[in-house]
Amino acid sequence: MTNTVTPEALTFECETGNYHTFCPISCVSWLYQKIEDSFFLVIGTKTCGYFLQNAMGVMIFAEPRYAMAELEEGDISAKLNDYDELKRLCLQIKRDRNPSVIVWIGTCTTEIIKMDLEGLAPKLESEIGIPIVVARANGLDYAFTQGEDTVLAAMAARCPKQVLEAEKEERAGIQKLLSFGRKKEEVAAEESEYVEHPPLVLFGSLPDPVVTQLTLELKKQGIKVSGWLPAKRYTELPVIEEGYYVSGLNPFLSRTATTLMRRRKCKLIGAPFPIGPDGSRAWIEKICSVFGIEPKGLAEREKQIWDNLEDYIQLIRGKSVFFMGDNLLEISLARFLIRCGMTCSEIGIPYMDKRYQKAELEMLEKTCQEMGATLPKIIEKPDNYNQIQRIYELKPDLVITGMAHANPLEARGINTKWSVEFTFAQIHGFTNARDILELVTRPLRRNHALKDLGWDKLVKEEANV
């Protein structure tokens, strides 16, 4: 194969990894809310607890279904028996909360002292009668949203293989209950709205309204979603059998994808992620093409959404954006913003799985070519200090960054948007494209409102720029 060097190819670099991000145990905060009958036990130190307590702010007071198993000196020096200690705490949790599953979150400390959580879990599970799922979401190996990836990868192993006959009956019973009051023909008619295709399971934890939106979106194409990983309850984890098709909703789920392919023998539909109208359309088209379905009305639908975004796009068209990188959503967001007419010179990202994100990367490249934008540099494991020097040089119109740098950059007259908000906002599908731009344009709109005041820079002369 002749390897012609095209200057239009994406470049990948790797820096020192000295960057700010959240610890992956933060996934507890959204997963315990998503999986309603779960209890998350983070086995770590005061440091982990302090982070969760402060990062989750108000949520902490709402009687959360999570707690720390705080390790003490006796645990570290193995004076205390791990198994007995965990048993004591898990029995207490069972007594107080009676969850359907306890998720153990392994941390840096359990890694270093080599606590065999995977080994202890099955034993304890049979003893106390509650499933125990182990996820090693630690800061030694992972960043922020990758925490969800480790939990879902562990959950993937717990998805039932086959619907047992009795259970089938039961599920049908629930179905009957749900279609209560409707005639049999109507239910049958509903079934016939779908095209014949192999079962499809989607993975990625999304708020319930977004789950509904995306399910309906596929329904319009006659595609039936057989299940979601994770479901609303642990007891409702979807059936996954060999040969099922799966598709990821978020760019940080590479371990989950790998587990579904290798362990559960599923076929992964590698598509761009449904973020922005362009991504949403590409995602649906890809699923359709795998199932041999001719997509209906997608082009019009996309156009209609774009038309609706025009007032926001006017604010950002021609402006530049810089991603410092901390949550792995960066490639998809950059692709969408470039389609909106922004330019982007640098995409920082904690970790880049070029295989799992292949379709997304190709779409980014294509988008840049179509929009006539220069291809961004993708910086894996960025170095925040170096990035800030580059930001001073480039003077981008918008920096998407963590909370550690947002206020200092604002004080130096640089517009910022906190990256964490993209993780907690509803950004998937056609319906939520506007919400992304609402976030992106907020600093620009705010600063536009203040622009005549004349106080852009609120720090004294920089010592060393």
Binding site: G17, T47, I60, I388
Partner: protein, 508 residues
């Protein structure tokens, strides 16, 4: 192992970082895994810092686990030394690094050879001390380091300042209302004719630490931070220290009288009695407040107090002694310093509670059913659940406890602020009860549920359920927009599909 939902004092490294980043031009390097730099977020958000928090991480990852940090820590120290030329770099161990047992001391020594600034290892044990203890010992360690350095170089200034002067020790970043307290204390010292020699650690330069012995005395307003340093300076230079927190009218007077005694013993000739009298009667409103009929209504009301040693003890005394409020129990989470607390508050409350367990506190509040709570953010939330008003008096705190306006807790202006805080908590409580008795401000029955009349449109069950998931404050708007959309297009029933189509159409 301990099952924990909440903690009052943070881990040790937070204390070290608070002290290090309070100094000017001091940089802390944490030996920690990715994500442990959450301190930077807190400082940037809570204090709304305009500058970058001078804390970076020498990241502990898999490679470090397998082979040790090797050159990494040393390289990171030297790199930071070049980039920002700090006066001092404090290498900060975390819970992770304390179990790795790497020889951090050795890294510091090696880095010191090439670094132009000073390098030091914070000497804290993660599993033995908490945030507050670590902060106290780190401050002492830094002060000792620079005193000894100056001694060795023969740069230690001789003698005391000409006029009476003071070092204020213990003001730090992320401390509860510390900035305002500091301003108020400086003002108080100016009124007393006492010069400020140094304030540490907040905004201090390490180069000035050698001047500490020139002060006539040291003032440590906070029980948790600064006492170790004050004791060190006393043993080294015989500088007396005053650890009476000037919070509340009585304690402020006691603190001033102690200052008078200390400076007069060194040859000054001051009499502050008239000043105290004037401030108490005319500047502070608190003394008058306690005499007014408002405060009369508070007599015998039951309250509980919980917080750190400094604030919980001071508030207990103010409530009981200055306002005639009945403190049923007073508590602290500073278990390591419990004896001090007991001694301070025993005569002002029925019961003393020493615990770090928020569940126990919550139960104790529910048991007593006080008219008001004075505690941390945690107690505020307990109060919310039990419908009891709460004034926040100590860390852990949220962003609303870093007010932009001037709100000291110390000195004479502090007494005014505290009086407001206490009084407002109670009136709110009283108003609540009145509302309950009379069933609301306006007893006229509400006739319609929303401003627009009930609609003729039919919502499907799913759509209705979805609508209910929309946050309350925008639900009405979403409902109206959706119905408008449906009417315009002639839909008779609003299904989920119609709902989302409407959202896309109007962008609501």
């Amino acid at each position: 192992m301990k099952l924990a939902y909440w903690m009052y004092a943070g881990p040790a490294h937070i204390g070290t970082l608070r002290v290090a980043s309070s100094f000017k031009n001091v940089h802390a390097i944490m030996h920690a895994p990715l994500g442990d730099d959450y301190f930077n977020v807190m400082r940037s958000m809570l204090e709304r810092e305009r500058n970058y928090t001078p804390v970076t991480t020498s990241v502990v990852d898999r490679n470090v686990l397998a082979r040790g940090s090797q050159e990494k820590v040393v390289d990171n120290i030297i790199r930071k030394d070049n980039e920002e030329a700090p006066d001092l770099i404090v290498l900060t161990p975390t819970c992770t690094s304390s179990i790795l047992q790497e020889d951090l001391e050795n890294f510091v020594e090696r880095a010191q050879i090439d670094a132009k600034g000073d390098v030091m290892l914070a000497d804290v044990n993660h599993y033995r001390v908490n945030e507050l203890q670590a902060a106290d010992s780190t401050l002492q360690q830094i002060v000792k380091y620079y005193i000894e350095k100056a001694k060795k170089k023969g740069e230690l200034p001789e003698g005391k300042t000409e006029k009476p002067s003071v070092n204020i020790i213990g003001v730090s970043t992320l401390g509860f209302h510390n900035q305002h307290d500091c301003t108020e204390l400086k003002r108080l010292m100016a009124d007393l004719g006492i010069e400020i020699n140094e304030v540490i650690p907040e905004s201090a330069s390490v180069h000035n630490l050698k001047n500490l012995p020139r002060a006539w005395f040291n003032l440590t307003p906070y029980r948790e931070l600064g006492i170790m340093t004050a004791k060190y300076l006393e043993s080294e230079f015989g500088t007396p220290y005053i650890d009476i927190t000037p919070m509340g009218v009585v304690e402020t007077a006691r603190c001033i009288r102690k200052i008078q005694q200390v400076v007069n013993a060194q040859g000054a000739n001051v009499d502050y009695e008239e000043f105290i009298d004037n401030q108490t009667l005319h500047v502070s409103q608190a003394a008058w407040f306690s005499r007014s009929i408002d405060c009369q209504n508070l007599t015998g009301k039951k309250v509980v107090v919980f917080g750190d040693n400094t604030h919980a003890a001071a508030l207990t005394k103010i409530l009981a002694r200055e306002m005639g409020v009945h403190v049923v129990w007073a508590g602290t989470y500073c278990k390591y310093d419990a004896e001090w607390f007991r001694e301070q508050v025993s005569e002002y409350c029925d019961e003393v509670l020493i615990t770090e367990d928020n569940g126990e506190i919550g139960d104790a509040i529910a048991r007593v059913e006080p008219a008001a709570i004075f505690g941390t953010q945690m107690e505020r939330h307990v109060g919310k659940r039990l419908n009891i008003p709460c004034g926040v008096i100590a860390a852990p705190i949220h962003i609303q406890n870093f007010p932009i306006g001037y709100k000291p807790f110390m000195g004479y202006e502090g007494t005014n602020q505290i009086a407001d805080l206490v009084y407002n908590s109670f009136t709110l409580g009283m108003e609540d009860h009145l509302l309950e008795i009379f069933g609301g401000h306006d007893t006229k029955e509400v006739i319609t549920k929303s401003i627009s009349a009930d609609s003729d449109l039919n919502w499907t069950k799913e759509a209705k359920a979805e609508l209910n998931k929309v946050p309350g404050f925008v639900r009405g708007k979403v409902k109206r927009n959706t119905e408008k959309f449906a009417r315009e297009r002639g839909f008779e029933q609003i299904s989920l599909e119609v709902m989302y189509a409407a959202k896309e159409a109007v962008g609501a």
